[in-house]
């Protein structure tokens, strides 16, 4: 059993490390300029000159995948950080405040969660503007409900605990109770959620880019590369393979990492 548990963690860590390494390498070295077109050489098959072939404008697919990893990780980490910070604050506030305000906040969070599919993110990105900043903000807001719900229930749970009652009795402020007394207890679950949310955020970003609502060309993004490949997929199937595989590895890596962390730190501590 213990062997299996660590498998998710190891596999996840390896995959994430791979993608992070690819991203870091891209700053030092890329096979070609990822945005340089070479229209005479388009739809080139994977080969010695272009390891993963070229796209419809003759751009090198491997270089584009490498550059796209920067934006995927940037959007993933930034948006989840923002969403987690805002969401946790809102959740904790709602749980500590109680009364009408709590109901109002939680109904609002419920409302955000009830939006069908990626509609909320789609609407937000149309308002906030496309591109990297817009994506980070939209996905960040999209992540708020998950974290507020999580923190809300954890704070409610902890409120009943003796140590909190004790802290209250000697006059600790509510903010201090949450930050100094509850946070250490909540941290493992937050970190777990953080990791799997990054997987979700990367997937969401690529979905938005696929629909043309995310990162704007010529900056590459995996979702956009796939959406461009879609037009030609029946004639040139190979251009749709590589970006999808890399995207899958990234999302799978963060999800596995989250699961592994969960098994190791959360389940163990709660039992």
């Amino acid at each position: 059993m213990k062997r299996k548990r660590s498998f998710s963690l190891t596999a996840g860590a390896v995959m994430v490390a791979l993608i992070v390494a690819m991203c870091l390498v891209s700053f030092v070295w890329m096979p070609m300029d990822p945005e340089k077109m070479d229209t005479a050489n388009r739809f080139a098959l994977p080969g010695a000159q272009h390891l993963l072939g070229t796209d419809q404008f003759g751009r090198d697919v491997l270089s584009r995948i490498m550059e796209a990893s920067r934006w995927a990780l940037l959007v993933g980490v930034c948006s989840v950080t923002a969403g987690a910070a805002a969401g946790s604050a809102i959740g904790a506030a709602a749980a500590m405040l109680g009364g009408v305000l709590r109901s109002v906040i939680m109904r609002f969070i419920d409302g955000m969660m009830s939006f069908p599919g990626i509609l909320l993110a789609m609407m937000l990105v149309t308002v906030l503007g496309k591109g990297i900043l817009g994506s980070v903000l939209a996905i960040g807001i999209f992540m708020i409900p998950t974290f507020s719900r999580l923190v809300y229930s954890m704070v409610l749970e902890n409120k009943q605990r003796l140590y909190v009652k004790a802290a209250q009795s000697y006059g600790c402020s509510r903010r201090r109770i949450v930050l100094h007394h509850m946070l250490p207890d909540m941290l493992p679950r937050l970190i777990t959620q953080f990791s799997s949310s990054i997987g979700g955020a990367v997937l969401l970003e690529s979905s938005l880019s696929f629909l043309g609502l995310g990162i704007q060309p010529p900056t590459p993004s995996w979702g956009m590369m796939l959406s461009e490949a879609r037009q030609f997929v029946l004639s040139y199937p190979y251009i749709a393979v590589a970006p999808g595989v890399v995207l899958l590895i990234t999302v799978l890596g963060f999800n596995l990492l989250g699961d592994g962390l969960n098994d190791r730190f959360v389940k163990r501590s709660s039992r």
């Binding site: 059993m1 299996k4 109901s103 109904r107 609002f108 419920d110 409302g111 955000m112 009830s114 939006f115 069908p116 599919g117 990626i118 509609l119 909320l120 789609m122 609407m123 937000l124 149309t126 308002v127 719900r149 229930s153 409610l156 997987g199 997937l203 690529s206 979905s207 696929f210 629909l211 979702g223 796939l226 959406s227 490949a229 879609r230 997929v233 029946l234 199937p237 749709a240 970006p243 999808g244 995207l247 899958l248 999302v251 799978l252 999800n255 596995l256 699961d259």
Partner: protein, 320 residues
């Protein structure tokens, strides 16, 4: 119990209100002018201004919002300016497509996840369990648009088993209709598998761990009978409620799959509404789908309350 029911209903209504309110306010901020879109590039500014007035776009936003709410309460969902058709009519036209895809994919997902999840729990750590967990992880991580493209390439283009894109209505034969929605349903089902296998497997594991299993064994029941009579029964509640929720949510989660397979469903309607800034239409779609989600969650909450008396007295049930 009754008091709790009323409270639950009220909070469901509050959620619907919040959702429609957010949609409305967000859409107001989207650039683009509905009147200009109707008239096209050749219209003079005066014409556009006149049409804006006629469409009620010059009213303050809260009046526009109240007008819309009032209409919905009277059963009038308004007219979509893109299609010039009543929103309710449009929804009724599109719903069968999305609903049949959602239903078929849930069916596939439920059957597969039940089989895989139960077996995985019974034979924990066996190769089968590893397979189930691999499917679970892949289901949660595979980008649906990529999977859809691969399926289309292999099953439709290479093998020719299914049409590449498009929807054949039920009226042209059940088989033809099934073939046209098979690939999109499979793509969605694989996404759902990620969630469902997890639930089935873990609730089955919990059930197997319960005291009643031990006492059943002590009473001399053969293991298989104990599993069927007790474990399966107690493990089935969570997956059923989750499946219901997922089905309702799928009604709005089909945008990408409908786009790729060119299905004329609610998802595509939603994308058009966002892109063309058709507030009335989008409001209608969002209200409709969230109503379904909220309704299902209400019903499942009630079922859980009825089954499990402990929840009645505690905090509100968290329905996810």
């Amino acid at each position: 119990m009754l008091k709790l029911l009323v409270r639950r209903l009220l909070s469901a209504l509050a959620v619907l209100f919040v959702v429609s309110f957010i949609t409305f306010v967000v859409l107001l901020c989207i650039p683009g002018d509905a009147a200009q879109l109707v008239l096209g590039v050749d219209a003079t500014p005066e014409k556009v201004a006149a049409l804006r007035e006629a469409m009620g776009l010059n009213e303050p936003w809260y009046i526009q919002y109240l007008d819309w709410i009032g209409g919905v309460l009277r059963g009038d969902w308004g007219t979509s300016y893109v299609y010039g058709e009543n929103v309710w009519t449009l929804l009724c036209q599109r719903l069968p497509v999305t609903f049949s895809v959602a239903l078929l994919s849930m069916l596939i997902a439920v059957v597969l996840s039940a089989v895989l999840g139960i077996l995985a729990a019974l034979k924990k750590d066996s190769p089968l369990d590893i397979l189930a967990r691999t499917v679970m992880q892949l289901g949660g991580a595979l980008p649906s648009f990529w999977l859809a493209m691969l399926f289309m390439l292999f099953f439709a283009s290479y093998l020719g088993w299914f049409p590449i894109t498009g929807y054949t209505p039920m009226s042209e034969g059940f088989g033809a209709c099934l073939r046209s929605i098979a690939l999109p349903s499979f793509v969605l089902a694989i996404g759902e598998l990620g969630i469902l296998i997890r639930i089935v497997r873990s609730s089955m594991l919990t059930a197997l761990d319960q005291d009643f299993m031990l006492s059943a064994r002590v009473k001399g029941l053969p293991p298989r009978a104990a599993i069927v009579r007790y474990a399966l029964r107690s493990a089935v509640i969570a997956p059923i409620t989750i499946s219901g929720m997922q089905l309702a949510k799928l009604l709005g989660g089909t945008v990408i799959v409908e786009t790729i397979f060119a299905l004329p469903g609610i998802g595509r309607l939603m994308l058009t509404a966002v892109e063309q800034r058709d507030i009335t239409l989008l409001q209608g779609i969002v209200l409709f789908i969230t109503s379904m989600v909220v309704l299902v969650s209400l019903v499942t909450d009630l079922i859980v309350m009825a089954v499990n008396p402990a929840i009645r007295t505690g905090e509100e049930a968290v329905s996810r």
